[in-house]
């Protein structure tokens, strides 16, 4: 390992080894928190050498949601070949791996434990640091992977099946929670509405597809709490979709999907914009699974252009769970906090540490 000029902090592993964290440090990232099994090699925090993702969506589709035990079994079967492929595709020898990072939470406990156990075992065998990574933090870092020119302070809108959050990033590892959902996550509302309309699973892409053929102004669904703070609420719009369809059974599913999507996206974009104004953010970042939604991408970017703000849209591959973002967040964590002890476990309901 080469010495860097800016005297990067060092991290000690047990008693035997000191690792300097710099632009040549290669981190193996591992992600098994939900229904994607993924491994990636990232150098210096943002240079993706390889990123391999295997999605189990077909295994779970027939149940309309992720089945924890099926996910855990699949992770155990898939993880080794996926790690092997990530190393081969990176084109670097295994000895070049300087640290192993893995999601320790939040996620499904049985699924998380497969990755955490494998990651710690590899760290032990290779005698390199292990880094436990917060999955939410990794989603924030996926933006830096694709756009290293982003500057603090940033506001990130994280929208997934599990979460809807507005986060201010003041610096690396320095977050403030500006707003969050008080009931359903946006992605959850997509799933439930899609299921109600019989559009299939996962709900996000299904609604996105059908909405293309519908009129977003056909039905005026409520925009809950639109002018009211930075928190979100999505259970109301879901209920009014259900009520509307029950009252008008002949309504076009495409119109319902388009109108529902428009209502959700309106609120998401308006609040992200207001949050960015409030903290004087230089940039606005979109993340999480719902960031793949076409209308949200379009309106998010339009709002950034209007406000003259640096907007960032992740590529669709980076919206979904992947291990490159885990390796990237791991590199930053190793630099700031050093390694995670090998007696760490998984934390299914791990939260992000927010500044007061």
């Amino acid at each position: 390992m080469t010495m860097s000029a800016d005297a990067a902090p060092t991290a000690s592993v047990g008693s035997s080894k000191v690792v300097l964290v710099d632009s040549s440090t290669v981190v193996l990232g591992i992600e098994t928190s939900c229904d994607e099994t993924a491994a990636a090699l990232v150098m210096g925090g943002d240079d993706v050498l390889s990123s391999v993702v295997s999605t189990q969506v077909d295994l779970h589709a027939q149940y309309g949601g992720v089945v924890p035990e099926i996910a855990s079994r699949a992770h155990l079967e898939l993880l080794n070949p996926i790690i092997a492929r990530a190393i081969v595709e990176a084109g670097v020898p295994e000895q070049r791996i300087d640290a192993v990072a893995c999601t320790v939470g939040p996620g499904l406990i049985g699924a998380l434990l497969v990755g955490v156990s494998a990651a710690k075992a590899l760290a032990l065998v290779w005698d390199v640091p292990f880094i436990g990574v917060n999955h939410h933090e990794a989603h924030l870092y996926s933006a830096f992977l694709e756009d290293p020119t982003l500057e603090f302070p940033l506001v990130a809108l994280i929208v997934s099946g599990g979460h809807t959050m507005l986060i201010e990033m003041q610096g690396h590892g320095r977050y403030r929670l500006l707003g969050r959902t008080i009931d359903d996550a946006a992605g959850e509302a997509f799933d439930k509405v899609a299921r109600f309309l019989d559009l299939g699973y996962p709900g996000g892409p299904a609604i996105d597809r059908v909405a293309l053929h519908g009129d977003p102004e056909a039905i005026r669904f409520p925009r809950a709490m639109l002018h009211d703070g930075l928190d979100f609420s999505f259970s109301g719009v879901k209920t009014s979709v259900i009520n509307h369809v029950r009252k008008h059974p002949d309504v076009s599913a495409a119109d319902v999907a388009a109108s529902f999507q428009a209502a959700v996206v309106d609120v998401l974009v308006a609040k992200a914009r207001r949050a960015a104004d409030q903290v004087g953010a230089k940039g606005l970042v979109l993340g999480g699974g719902v960031a793949a939604n076409s209308l949200l991408r379009e309106q998010f970017l339009a709002a950034c252009v209007d406000d003259g703000r640096h907007g960032f849209l992740p590529s669709r591959a980076m919206c979904t769970d992947n291990a490159a973002m885990i390796a990237s967040a791991g590199w930053h964590r190793l630099r700031s906090d050093g390694p995670t002890p090998l007696d760490a476990g998984a934390v299914p309901n791990l939260r992000l540490d927010f500044l007061p």
């Binding site: 939900c34 089945v67 924890p68 155990l76 955490v116 156990s117 997509f190 709900g203 699974g289 007696d343």
Partner: protein, 241 residues
């Protein structure tokens, strides 16, 4: 150190057990049974056993794991770690059933053995064995079922038996009510990595091993397909897209 060296990893029940050994027998053994801390305990335990036995992980020739049946969450911790070590060290693996590991230490008891593991949800995993020269021979396929299923199966065999395992201890009264036999000591109630290393060593000498990606867990149960929305909500799932 010459010869074949085996790292044994055993996490299929409430116990975490790690051993290392070869033709000289078991050289190091760590066991703790405080439940639900498999992921936290296992890797430090491997590090500790190797360091105290003065063996480098570079020296091992195979990784042996308990493939179940057992409690899936703990079992997968051992399997995931064992597979990763074997893959990184480029050594083969040897999988042995938890029930075999329970029965083997009772090979000198002169009686048939029923190995019984608590499967929770009111069920048990079990299999029956006969002592034979040098070990035990399994005479029934590993099964899962209710205590009534177990009692019915064992009654049909009609023997004076030795019962071993955490399932035998938990359901001691029901078993004693219907069946003739004795119960093995409490310290034998969890499968141990000591017999795992011993049995795996014999297999390794015959080169009866598999590649890490070929190792098959013995679940015996179909996955519970009930979707847990509350755990899903805490997961950073991508259900929205």
């Amino acid at each position: 150190m010459g010869g074949v060296l085996i790292l044994g990893i055993e996490t299929a029940t409430a116990q975490v057990s790690v051993a290392i050994g070869g033709h000289e027998g078991v050289l190091g053994l760590f066991e703790v049974c405080r439940g639900r801390r498999h992921a936290e305990t296992l890797i430090p335990a491997i590090e500790f056993v190797c360091r105290q036995a003065e063996i480098d992980l570079d020296e091992i020739s195979a990784v042996a794991v308990d493939v179940g049946p057992g409690l899936v969450t703990g079992m997968r911790v051992g399997l995931a770690a064992g597979k990763a070590i074997a893959q990184a060290r480029r050594v083969p693996m040897i999988g042995i059933s938890s029930l075999d590991l329970l029965a083997f230490p009772l090979r000198h008891g002169g009686r048939p053995v029923a190995a019984i593991i608590d499967a929770r949800k009111g069920e048990v995993f079990w299999a029956c064995y006969l002592p034979v020269p040098g070990g035990v021979q399994r005479i029934s396929e590993p099964a899962v079922g209710s205590i009534d299923d177990l009692v019915a199966d064992l009654m049909a065999r009609g023997n004076d038996m030795l019962f071993v395992g955490d399932g035998a201890l938990r359901y001691r009264e029901q078993l004693a009510e219907w069946l003739r036999g004795d119960f093995a000591e409490q310290f034998l109630a969890h499968p141990s990595s000591a017999p795992l290393v011993q049995l795996a060593h014999a297999k390794a000498l015959r080169e009866e091993w598999v590649n890490p990606w070929e190792i098959q867990p013995l679940y015996l149960r179909a996955p519970d397909a009930e979707i847990n929305w509350s755990t899903r909500r805490t997961a950073a799932g991508t259900g929205g897209a």
